[in-house]
Symmetry: none
Subunit: 193 residues, 4 copies
């Protein structure tokens, strides 16, 4: 990579190369295979350039993760709660188990178990926003009068998405459409009028 010094600001070229290299390494060799040296070598970038802009390798991965979750997991309003939820949970399962950004997420979530700071940043930077999006179908239904206005949205979300994350992160069981549909059925059976 031809470097191009610049008085005002960093090299976007280098930034992109680093993020891609990190992503690639995670996909190819797993989290332990993502090293600053490896990223630098693969990106054709000096180690110092990485340390200048990112405090650690998880920061690189966090930035590489970027808006992937929002892009993949923003629900659409079909006007029907059941349809909205079934579609969204199915997409969530697919994102977590079948995409590259999903793999990055799992790696970050795993690392967050060892690193409370990362946990906080992952939650504040990505998970809280995702829970907002996850809750949209419920809020739309409340507005339509299809769900009680006093529904505890947070608890409802935990019951809907919790089992999906549990299968992905803990048991490793495949998350089938039947499984997610059943979660929605259980929810509708209890709350929908």
């Amino acid at each position: 990579m031809a470097h191009r010094g610049n008085r005002h600001g960093r090299s976007e070229e280098a930034r992109q190369a680093v993020l891609e290299a990190a992503d690639d390494l995670l996909a190819e060799r797993g989290f332990a295979g993502v090293t600053i040296e490896g990223i630098a070598a693969r990106a054709g970038v000096a180690k110092q350039t990485i340390y200048r802009w990112w405090p650690s390798k998880v920061d690189v991965l966090l930035e590489a993760f970027g808006e992937d979750m929002a892009q993949h997991l923003t629900p659409e309003d079909h006007g029907d709660l059941g349809t909205d939820l079934r579609t969204h949970l199915s997409r969530l399962a697919e994102f977590l188990t079948g995409t590259d950004p999903g793999a990055v997420f799992r790696a970050l979530a795993g690392q967050a178990q060892h690193d409370p700071q990362l946990a906080t940043r992952l939650r504040d930077g990505h998970l809280s926003g995702q829970r907002e999006r996850d809750g949209l179908p419920l809020r739309w239904a409340i507005e339509r009068g299809d769900l009680p206005a006093d529904l505890d949205v947070g608890t409802a979300l935990d019951q809907l998405v919790g089992p999906v994350y549990y299968r992905v992160l803990v048991t490793g069981t495949p998350v089938t459409r039947a499984f997610t549909d059943d979660l929605v059925d259980a929810f509708l059976h209890r709350h929908a009028r």
Copy 2:
């Protein structure tokens, strides 16, 4: 630790010292602070002694984890499904968030996201057995006729414990008794006769 050579069999003394040192280091410095060198130094044991008996540091932690989960999380039969489930989920929450073995479990679960082999061993060695125990209240209820005989126990467990693990591993939200009780209510509302 005074070493005592021995022709037949390993030193139980060294084994205990290693397991305790690993546990202590995890509690004090987190997963990254658990190193073979650190364990050896703290246990007063030679590195080779650790490598002789455990392939890696996660194996030490797995062994230190031992039967803790079974000991803490074996349900009792009160003859009432609601009581059984509420008690058990509450204990699960306490175990995961409020005990030392729970911290070890979280660390191992985190590492398992980076290490598929560890994931398999964690599931085969501990999680599958735990799911058996988790399912006991349901099976007792089926035997009593309080739940339908064709209940999909696996899916039911995912819906009951999934949200608990989700809060612990993903959102970091406290898992209150009200939360676990609500999970049981939702389950009973749908399935119990």
Copy 3:
């Protein structure tokens, strides 16, 4: 240093700041403590400004060294060989061991052991001229008829100043007036009539 862009030639201000900073750093932290980065920071000058005008840090030091040797070590003609030599050797010793430019010289002479190019430049730029000056008392004496016309001035100089440099650069022994006077005595004993 407030930078003052300038379309007419280089900044004498910057040049002076660089030379002084280099001198100061050498005195304070030794040769290894003289870095381009450090000089730039201390002089309030951009690194590029240094690289534009000096190929390396030894060039900066060489220029800082400048005419110091000539200024300190130009002999005066007292009309007496013994007096001339004794005074000159004594001044040489003082210059090498007791002055800032002497310290710069020692650093450059040391570096010249690792860098043949520097050695050549040091000799051509400073040492050969100094040897001319060192030889003046001898030439005056030859003109006066106090020394034979066929005296090998070069060898004579080596015998006179060599031991002084040797003590400074190799043994570290103090170079006393008694020592330099004795060098002159030995020389006069052999050559003077």
Copy 4:
């Protein structure tokens, strides 16, 4: 290099490989080309092994220099002061300008100008011993009665070897046999009876 751990003491094999690699690098690339990384790579040794046993690269070179000076520059007693001195000075010149250990010495002497600690160790470890050896012909002559008993041996040595070191380290002039012989002549002319 097959490594062979050992409870009692270090690997002589590794030690030799390091010393040779350092010597070779100095000869091939000069002092700046001697780096710990380079030595490690060339010797097939881990960097840590070097850091374990030597505080810095000059320590490696000092040890590589070892007894070379003593081996090359121990005078023999021919029973005649002039012969002894002429032979010895000639050998000194050859050692300093024409041998590998001589090159190491020049590098170390150069570095010593930047590093007072190294200067001290070089003097205490090698130069003081060498001056003892250099002085032997004078002491033998004193015992024989060929030199006055009250001769200041130190000053005499400075006058004899100083010009040689001066030519080697400062002027770069070749040190011919004629030059060293002339030094001896000057000395004998003044002191010998």
